[in-house]
């Protein structure tokens, strides 16, 4: 395995010097052993064998100040949101974090929370996304640098969304953002996170993990966008464990031009728990985007609803899987999924793969999947009113993405995503 041997000895020293507590070092050590013993993950429609999975180092790059220009369009206006910015694995901006503390909640970086909120981190880290889920998740668990830690105590509702922006400016160091969100009973919180990189990045391995613990009657929203350039290989795992009558909503915009395999969704543990996901993928150039929205029903009367829209241009390739699993005993559950992919060029490819695994009789499940081109009749209809072909196509594509865009409630973030889409679809 490339580069593994020389890592083993040095990485413990590095993280100890960085101030990690013992339990974390131990968790990293275990994950590193797993990384060394596992093979490269084999994904059905995403062949990693030709990707440079050694494009990382143990040490983070020194964060310069080029992150500012990249993060700026996404940053909520002053005072509007609490903001955490991490560049090349290090915290470079914390703003308005104290306003959440007034309620007894915590919004800080995970590295510092590992010390300051040791019990919470030790208890929950790695519970939603297991360190040995695949080889690259093992690597991430061993080498993660920083990310957001959010804790919302029982009964507390944070009305203003929190914002996390992670920027990669240096090539070849690897990007390993890791987030942990803990929402206690009857609490509510929304996080908007963006993962961005400089256009100049050459080789980069990017493995991201987000874990969410949704307590009984709690409600968590995570809205993420990602834009990495073509030399990046991205593996993502984002998962929530949802308690009784809890609710988890995922919004996900994948706009990377590189190679991306993203797996996100919820384990509906509690009776009456609920989860939705709304995802957009826009592929340009030779982008490869492989997304799985995964909903696991364990609790009775649990509900999931996933919706995905993808637009593939150029020579891009999109794979969208809706994965709904209903365990025995999850009676009265309802799992719905819709996948719609639009191919705008003859060389683009798209697959929509609905998967339903059902081990219980008394359930409702539904899926709708479609892959196609812009409908000739729709185009004719708009053009017959005097709208040019170019404008008509743009209207159809924007309209197609609108149901997902509408889910982003921070105006500045919605605008940033919209202008990013405009650029990608020009």
């Amino acid at each position: 395995m490339r580069g593994v041997t020389q890592l083993s000895g040095s990485f413990e020293t590095y993280f100890t010097q960085q101030g990690d507590p013992d339990y974390l070092i131990e968790a990293r050590r275990k994950a590193m052993r797993s990384y060394e013993s596992l093979d490269i993950p084999r994904f059905e429609k995403s062949d990693l064998t030709h990707r440079n999975l050694a494009a990382f180092k143990i040490e983070a790059a020194a964060a310069g100040n080029t992150w500012q220009a990249i993060a700026d369009p996404y940053l909520a206006q002053d005072g509007q949101s609490s903001v955490l910015v991490i560049a090349d694995g290090q915290v470079v901006l914390k703003r308005g974090l104290e306003q959440v503390e007034a309620n007894g909640a915590v919004f800080t970086n995970l590295r510092s929370a590992a010390v300051s909120h040791r019990k919470l981190v030790e208890k929950h880290l790695g519970t939603a996304v297991s360190y040995d889920e695949n080889q690259l998740i093992s690597l991430q668990t061993a080498l993660w640098r920083d990310g957001a830690f959010i804790y919302v105590p029982s009964g507390v509702t944070l009305t203003e969304p929190l914002q996390l922006i992670c920027v990669t400016t240096a090539s070849g160091h690897g990007s390993f953002p890791r987030n942990l969100i803990i929402a206690e009973a009857s609490s509510a919180v929304t996080l908007y996170d963006a993962y961005l990189a400089a256009e100049t990045i050459t080789d980069e391995l990017h493995v991201g993990v987000t874990e969410v613990v949704v307590g009984p009657d709690a409600h968590v929203v995570v809205g993420s966008v990602q834009d990495f350039p073509k030399a990046a290989t991205t593996i993502l795992s984002r998962r929530a464990n949802v308690g009784k009558n809890g609710r988890m909503d995922w919004v996900f915009g994948e706009l990377s031009e590189g190679f991306t395999v993203a797996d996100f969704g919820s384990v509906l543990q509690g009776d009456g728990s609920k989860s939705t996901s709304h995802a957009i993928a826009v592929g340009i150039g030779r982008a490869h985007i492989d997304m799985t929205a995964r909903m696991i029903h364990i609790g009775r009367f649990s509900e999931s609803d996933t919706m995905a829209r993808g637009v593939m241009q150029g020579r891009s390739n999109g794979v969208y899987r809706g994965f709904t699993q209903i365990h025995k005993g999850a009676s009265g559950s309802d799992g719905q999924q819709t996948e719609k992919l639009l191919m705008l060029s003859p060389q683009s490819r798209a697959d929509a793969i609905p998967m339903l695994l059902i081990d219980e009789n008394d359930v409702k499940c539904g899926h709708a999947a479609s892959v196609g081109q812009i409908s000739e009749d729709q185009l004719f209809y708009l053009m017959s009113r005097g709208i040019s072909e170019r404008d008509a196509k743009a209207m159809i594509v924007w309209g197609f993405l609108q149901p997902v865009l509408a889910e982003i409630s921070i105006e500045r973030m919605r605008e940033a995503v919209t202008s990013m889409l405009e650029r990608k679809m020009a």
Binding site: S375, E376, D377, Q378, F380, Y381, L382, M383, S384, R385, G386, I387, S388, E389, D391, A392, M395, I396, W398, G399, F400, L401, Q402, P403
Partner: protein, 262 residues
């Protein structure tokens, strides 16, 4: 473009997938006139409507279509619309994520041209007034284009677009199908309100019912992909009274559909 519009169709032949549907259609529509094309199903009426607007499925193999002296067949679909042609469709498409109002404003601005855009507030005020005239709920302005509209709502929305865009020549393709009497009356009032010397109308229908509400000046009967008889209002009344069979007998046509002649 001002003055009285003129649409001149000469010897129009149209095929779909290599099969000829229209076999030489001649028709002359001027501003201020109301023409009705009638005929049983499958005789080529809707093909004429779609081909005039330039639907890509239809290939014009011969003949000419001139609007105010301009060659319509040389224009793209959007250019035809901007030249003043309008087609109210039998099955309007649904477009998700695009609001009815934004769509119509874009269409109107495209028709008016750059620098002539209608002020946003004025547009919305006019739109609401026009919707009111068609008994449409104001919320339809913000609904996604035709999405979840009933058949009757879609037809009203077509007429609303016509009144917003103020075309020079409008073609209504079976605007009466799927409408109950009350809706038909409202739609017909909306159409009648458009009548003026700068507006010519071509209605396609196979029911005489519509013509009681929108009175035609000229009635044409289409069979086997051609106009086989033209006349005044009295022709529609004759068809109403006697059906199509007498005409078929008179013309020696056994099967009036296009397929019969292939």
């Amino acid at each position: 473009m001002t003055g009285v519009p003129e649409l001149k169709i000469s010897g129009l032949r149209v095929s779909i997938d290599g099969k000829e549907i229209l076999k030489g259609v001649d028709l002359h529509v001027r501003g201020g006139e109301v023409h009705a094309i009638m005929g049983p199903n499958g005789t080529g009426k809707s093909t004429l409507a779609s081909a005039l607007m330039g639907h890509p499925k239809y290939t014009v193999t011969d003949g000419s279509v001139m609007l105010d002296g301009q060659d319509v067949l040389a224009m793209h679909v959007d250019e035809r619309a901007r030249a003043g042609l309008f087609l109210a469709m039998q099955y309007p498409s649904e477009v998700t994520g695009v609001s009815n109002a934004n769509f119509m404003r874009m269409a109107l601005n495209a028709r008016r041209g750059e620098g002539q855009e209608v002020p946003v507030l004025k547009f919305h005020r006019d739109l609401q007034n026009k919707m009111k005239a068609l008994s449409m709920d104001p919320e339809f302005a913000q609904r996604y284009l035709n999405e979840g509209f009933s058949g009757g709502e879609k037809k009203r929305n077509e007429i609303l677009q016509m009144s917003v865009l103020e075309p020079r020549i409008a073609i209504l393709d079976e605007i009466d199908s799927g409408l109950d009497i009350d809706a038909l009356r409202i739609v017909a009032e909306g159409v009648n309100a458009q009548k003026r010397p700068e507006f010519g109308l071509l209605m396609i229908t196979h029911y005489q019912r519509l013509l009681q509400y929108i009175q035609p000046d000229y009635v044409h009967v289409m069979m086997q992909g051609r106009i086989v008889r033209s006349g005044g209002r009295e022709l529609a009344e004759e068809l109403e009274a006697k059906g199509y069979d007498w005409l078929k007998a008179e013309l020696g046509i056994a099967d009036e559909t296009v397929s019969a002649t292939v």
